[in-house]
């Protein structure tokens, strides 16, 4: 359900659970707690198919009513003030099982714990939402702008930074205007309009666009004094710190050309994707692909029965002809992939190296810097599956590097 070490299960078959109850506790530092999104009985603990088509451990809950844990503040009133000290904030965020909602589902408390010797100067809030089709962050910014900004101020407190910037792409003028208005009350928070340019929302690209700093190869954002959070994460932080509400739901876009009623829903984790599709009017006839995420980075689902998880930002239904890839042709060395790669890599080369399993050369060619944005595959006139092989190579090179460290 999140990046890092899998959590350890705390409940047993037959246990009664309430909404917000801890189901599994973080196992290790880079890990996060999991709370029950529903109330009811634990039916079984077994393996279930996840979005990747592989089986993972899962807790099956027979849903009964909607009974919340009493500690959670379910009111909708805005609570602006936060006087907790940073350690306490981070502790609460950890308790609430918050992970990044921008896609990578990286446990947020880890990101908030700045490594010794480094200093965060800026907090960047990622409201770019640069993938076509997806609008969940957009909607969130419009509807929960206030909570968002309070969340940002909490995060600033936790990180002990003076400056926060919310980056939003130019194509969402309403969100920019809305947030600009709200932040007038917060002197250290500003809203910056950004060029519409995929993949502007990539962490490193955002930092480059806002601060004109480049995160060094293999480095972390803190290396250039920045920490980046998604808008959804900031709202979740607000909920956790001010309302004591753990991370059990998120906004999910459900969209697609042939869908009757595309919309954004606030969805509890564990809800099957198919239920969401039903709510949006059912799976259209001409469905070719169901994608968990956007068209550039999302994961195609083999089975719409899988549950919504912390990283699902949207469900995109692609109609038939668009879903199929074109036939691969030989690389004509047109250099389009090179010029389009935001990380300055040479995808055409990485792909052949990947095909020939030349992992050491891939490492020298900085394959690990690839952010998997997919721009290269998108642009290639020969329709080469560049990213497919690059991703494979990244996995292999990652293994290599890890085994070397040992």
């Amino acid at each position: 359900m999140h990046l890092g070490v899998p959590a350890k299960c705390l409940v047993n078959k037959g246990d009664e659970v309430k909404v917000g109850q801890l189901l599994a506790s973080a196992d290790g530092f880079v890990s996060a707690n999991i709370h029950s999104p529903f109330s009811g009985t634990v039916l079984k603990i077994d393996k279930a198919l996840d979005a990747s088509g592989y089986k993972r451990d899962a807790v099956f809950i027979g849903v009964k009513g909607d009974e919340w844990l009493s500690t959670i503040d379910t009111s909708t009133q805005l609570k602006k003030d936060c006087r907790l000290d940073p350690a306490e904030i981070i502790h609460r965020i950890n308790e609430a099982g918050i992970v990044g909602l921008g896609g990578a589902t990286f446990p947020s408390h880890v990101k908030l714990t700045i490594p010794r010797g480094k200093k965060a100067e800026y907090l960047l809030i990622n409201g770019v939402e640069c993938e076509p089709y997806l609008t969940s962050d957009h909607v969130l910014m419009l509807e929960k702008g206030e909570e968002l900004v309070v969340g940002v101020s909490i995060l600033m407190r936790a990180l002990n930074v003076e400056q926060a910037v919310i980056g939003i792409e130019n194509n969402k003028p309403d969100a920019i205007a809305h947030l600009r208005e709200i932040v007038t009350g917060f002197p250290n928070i500003s809203v910056q309009a950004l060029q519409v340019k995929y993949p502007q929302g990539g962490e490193k690209q955002l930092i480059k666009a806002v601060l004109n700093r480049e995160v060094p190869s293999g480095g972390l954002p803190v290396d250039v004094g920045a920490v980046v959070f998604n808008v959804g994460t900031a709202v979740a932080v607000y909920d956790a710190v001010q309302k004591n509400k753990p991370l059990i739901e998120r906004v999910v876009t459900i969209t697609g050309k042939s869908l009757t009623t595309p919309a954004n829903y606030r969805v509890r984790f564990g809800t099957p994707v198919s239920a969401l599709i039903e709510a949006a009017g059912g799976l259209p006839e001409d469905t070719g692909k169901v994608i968990n995420g956007g068209p550039m980075m999302g994961k195609a689902l083999a089975d719409p029965g899988v549950p919504v998880v912390k990283g699902s930002s949207g469900i995109l239904i692609l109609p038939e002809p668009e879903a199929a890839r074109r036939q691969t042709e030989p690389c004509i060395r047109c250099s389009r992939c090179v010029s389009v790669c935001p990380m300055g890599l040479e995808p055409y080369l990485l792909m052949v190296l990947g095909q020939k399993s030349l992992h050491e050369r891939m490492e020298n060619e900085k394959v690990m810097d690839c952010i998997e944005c997919g721009s290269c595959s998108y642009t290639c006139p020969s329709s080469r599956p560049l990213l497919d092989y690059i991703r494979l190579g990244k996995a292999e090179v990652g293994k290599m590097i890890r085994s070397r460290k040992k």
């Binding site: 692909k289 550039m296 042709e329």
Partner: protein, 341 residues
């Protein structure tokens, strides 16, 4: 739900660009120059072009199918581009046998020996052209006089005579300088004028005569984003600077930059042949280095060498350096120089 859904790794969208679209784009960009050649060389030009394209495509098909035993893929249009460009580099008076040999060499040796589209280190059309130039120096350096559709179609040795052949401006200059004349007197004596070079009213290979048509092609390809400006501009710019220096040093011995640019295959090479993706560098900086190299070698051969024209050799030589350029000139990696102080 009985229909199966598709699963693939991301990204799930594609720009819609394709190899054949690009290749046909190049063919369209070549059309103006082709029409000019038809206008000035008449049937001869039409037959050379058709024969060259047909044999290139045919050889591509036959070799792929029967020798390499692969799925033939001629629909991508690259063989057509090679065919047209090969024809553009030939005089319109070549006998069919030589054109077919040229196509065989271009496609067979230049391209498919290395595995076909995308793998060849050298520009196939130029491999074919240089092969022919070295093999049939006499035939390849005789250009018919411009008589439009009255130009005789020359299919065999018997009906080519000195009366029917003209010379290229570069040839005339080279020849004349050899016997001790000066540039200006030669230009005058042979009625060479820049307007004619620009409009194509001059001797030469099919595709190289009309500067304006080639420039139209360039504009089209830049607008369609088929190529970027780096290679053509760096070639032309370097030629201007280099020949400019020579010209200033001795205007009697060295032609001026404009002459060098408008005559011979320089524009054809800079716009259509040096820009071949497969055989040019991947990064803008690399492309500029490549362009400068081509320009320098071209001028050296033109001015000091035995051949009046050198761009074909220059492109082939720089083709050989492309792997090295690609190896040492890498794109700027993100985060390479940490900027913050």
């Amino acid at each position: 739900m009985n229909k199966l859904i598709t699963v693939s790794p991301s990204p799930h969208a594609h720009s819609g660009e394709s190899v054949s679209k690009l290749m046909y784009g190049v063919v369209i960009a070549l059309l103006p120059a082709m029409l000019v050649s038809f206008w000035f060389f008449g049937m001869g030009a039409i037959y050379v072009t058709l024969l060259s394209v047909a044999s290139c495509v045919l050889f591509e098909f036959l070799i792929q199918k029967y020798i390499l035993k692969k799925e033939p893929r001629i629909s991508d249009g690259s063989a057509i581009v090679t065919g047209v460009l090969l024809a553009f580099n030939l005089p319109s008076s070549l006998p069919p046998f030589i054109i077919i040999v040229g196509a065989l060499v271009a496609i067979g040796i230049g391209k498919l020996t290395f595995g076909g589209l995308g793998n060849n280190p050298f520009n196939p059309a130029l491999v074919g052209r240089v092969f022919l130039l070295l093999s049939f120096p006499t035939r390849m350096t005789k250009f018919p006089k411009l008589e439009g559709f009255n130009t005789p179609v020359i299919l065999s040795d018997s009906n080519i005579s000195d009366a029917t052949t003209g010379a290229t401006p570069l040839g005339i200059i080279k020849e004349g300088l050899g016997s001790g004349e000066t540039i200006s007197s030669l230009m005058e004596k042979n009625h060479l004028g820049y307007a004619d070079f620009f409009m194509g009213n001059t001797g030469g290979s099919l595709g190289e005569i009309a500067a304006f048509a080639l420039i139209l092609g360039l504009i089209f390809m830049l607008a369609r984003k088929i190529i970027t400006w780096h290679i053509p501009v760096s070639i032309i710019g370097t030629v201007i600077i280099f020949t400019g220096i020579l010209f200033l040093a001795d205007p009697n011995q060295y032609a001026d930059p404009l002459f060098h640019i408008l005559t011979g295959g320089l524009l054809l090479g800079a716009i259509f042949m040096a820009t071949d993706y497969v055989t040019s560098p991947m990064t803008p900086v690399g492309q500029i280095i490549y362009g400068v190299g081509i320009a320098l070698i071209t001028v050296i051969i033109r001015v000091f060498g035995a051949y009046p024209e050198g761009i074909s050799f220059a492109i082939l030589i720089m083709n050989a350096f492309v792997p090295l350029i690609n190896r040492y000139i890498k794109p700027k990696r993100f985060g390479e120089e940490v900027k913050n102080g």
